[in-house]
């Protein structure tokens, strides 16, 4: 095996460098008018791939009632112990229990999705919402209303098309 000499021998025209500079300028000029890759974040949001484990929602059934039956399977499965609830007698006759209050401490939640897997009613699910930062820690302890609202803004899969006013995020 010999040594392969890859030294570039420039032709006389290349030694003026000006054609090379001009072709470089042409490339940058082309890029100037190209489509930009920037996502203008608060207005545009980068859509996450399906299966993304983001903020948690509580699902509603066809009549708009909370699907959860307060069985506490999710709270038991939760490795971070961030789910808490109080079961009460359901005001509807197709189920026995419903959550009087339901609370997820998103400061503790690790978005592992174990609650979703544990739930026998498909009542708790992870969504594509990833931008739920707040100014206070208290705002990250989500009550039932907030979790049901997450359902409303993500159920049709159009979360990323909604305006900021609509999502409140």
């Amino acid at each position: 095996m010999g040594v392969k000499n890859v030294t570039h021998k420039s032709r006389w025209i290349e030694r003026f460098y000006i054609p090379a500079i001009l072709s470089g300028l042409k490339i940058t000029l082309k890029h100037m008018f190209q489509k930009k890759y920037t996502v203008q974040y608060p207005e545009e949001k980068w859509p996450v791939p399906p299966g993304h484990r983001g903020a948690i929602r509580l699902n509603k059934d066809e009549e708009g009632r909370v699907k959860c039956v307060a069985c506490e399977m999710c709270a038991t499965a939760c490795p971070a112990k961030c789910i808490s609830m109080e079961a009460g007698v359901a005001p509807w006759d197709d189920r026995e229990k419903y959550p009087v209050w339901f609370k997820i401490d998103m400061l503790r939640c690790i978005l592992c999705g174990m609650c979703e897997e544990a739930c026998p009613e498909d009542a708790i699910q992870l969504t594509e919402i990833y931008d739920f930062s707040t100014y206070t820690r208290a705002d990250l302890i989500w009550e039932k209303e907030r979790l049901l609202k997450n359902y409303d803004i993500t159920v049709d899969g159009k979360y990323f098309d909604r305006s900021r006013e609509e999502t409140g995020l």
Binding site: I18, I21, G24, L25, I27, T28, L29, H31, M32, F33, Q34, K35, K36, Y37, T38, Q40
Partner: protein, 350 residues
């Protein structure tokens, strides 16, 4: 020009011209700081700053306010007087240079001929070169007075670089002086006002293409712009000669640099692209509209060269220091001398 008895009106006219020119220069600095970043963004397939005001138009205002309110740090070991003086030494000459550049055709108002040029010096080109070499003092003194290693190296580099490239810049312009036979910039412009061979504008770029290339390369080196921005090469020198400067002193350095950019673009326009000449149109026959047209022509040409500065910045990489010196002394100066010889031979043959 009349020597004695400057009438009150004349002084007012000069004052008005000074205010307008400095105002437009400072406005252009604001536009350039934004333009640089937005064009950088566009070339790199992103948007650049577009949040402050519509399309980021108020970004320079925000930057200016930020500079005003920043803490002023003077290093305790710095040479205080020179340290404070250095930014002024950069900004001052930069602002003064524009004084001799004609930015429009002669305007006649109520029988009075007004030259659109602050000072019609008969040694205009020399004046510009004198001030260009003055601005190197600001950088060197700023770098030295900071009493810190990176600014010192930046200052030394800029001194060496500016001195080397000034020679080839001056030699390139000699070609123009030979053709025109005058150091007066308004004469240079008037000389380019006709047609060459009946169809080309009589611009010096067509007569001195080699001279123009030497001039533009030297101008990029003089203004410390990419690919010759070694005095402030960030990866090697932190920030270069202004590393230790903060607040408005730093802003003065930046303003000085941008004004030098504007002046050298205006100079390229004046020397090689016909100044305020709008090709194929006789401005003097159009009255006030001709003057307006000439100002627009000047602005468009200068704007193009300013854009070229920004465009080149985001295209070319930086030279190595020995390459810079090699190019300056071994290529540019012989080429400039060759250009003078060619010009002389052609002129004596014609």
């Amino acid at each position: 020009m009349e020597q004695a008895g400057y009438a009150f009106v004349d002084i007012l006219i000069v004052l008005a011209k000074v205010i307008v020119v400095i105002g437009i220069n400072l406005l252009m600095v604001m536009i350039l700081t934004l333009g640089e970043r937005r064009i950088a963004g566009f070339i790199q397939d992103r948007y650049g700053p577009n949040r402050v005001g519509p399309q980021g138009m108020l970004q320079p205002v925000a930057d200016g306010v930020k500079f005003f309110f920043k803490e002023e740090v003077i290093p305790s070991k710095a040479e205080k007087v020179i340290y404070v003086l250095a930014p002024a030494l950069v900004l001052g000459p930069a602002l003064l240079t524009f004084a001799v550049i004609p930015f429009g055709g002669p305007l006649s108002v109520v029988g009075k001929e007004i030259q659109l040029q602050i000072a019609e010096l008969n040694v205009g080109i020399l004046y510009i070169f004198a001030l260009l070499s003055l601005s190197v003092y600001g950088l060197v003194l700023g770098g030295w007075a900071s009493n810190s290693k990176y600014p010192l190296m930046g200052g030394l580099r800029s001194a060496a670089q500016m001195v080397s490239y000034e020679i080839s810049m001056g030699l390139a312009v000699i070609g123009i002086i030979m053709i025109t036979g005058s150091l007066r910039l308004s004469d240079v412009v008037m000389h380019q006002n006709e047609l060459l061979f009946g169809f080309l504008p009589h611009w010096n770029i067509f007569l001195q293409p080699l001279g123009f290339i030497i001039f533009i390369v030297a101008a990029y080196a003089e203004t410390n712009r990419v690919p010759f921005d070694l005095p402030e090469a960030e990866p090697e020198l932190v920030g270069g000669y202004h590393t230790e400067y903060s607040s408005m002193k730093f802003a003065s350095f930046m303003m000085g640099e941008y004004i030098a950019l504007i002046t050298s673009s205006a100079l390229m326009t004046t020397l090689y692209f016909g100044g305020w000449d709008f090709p194929y149109v006789d401005e003097s026959s159009l009255g006030i509209w001709g003057v307006l047209l000439s100002i627009i022509a000047f602005a468009v040409k200068t704007g193009f060269f300013l854009f070229l500065y920004l465009w080149v910045r985001w295209t070319l990489p930086r030279f190595r220091y020995d390459q810079l010196m090699g190019l300056g002394w071994k290529v540019m100066i012989p080429l400039a001398l060759f250009n003078i010889i060619i010009t002389g031979v052609v002129m004596s043959l014609l």
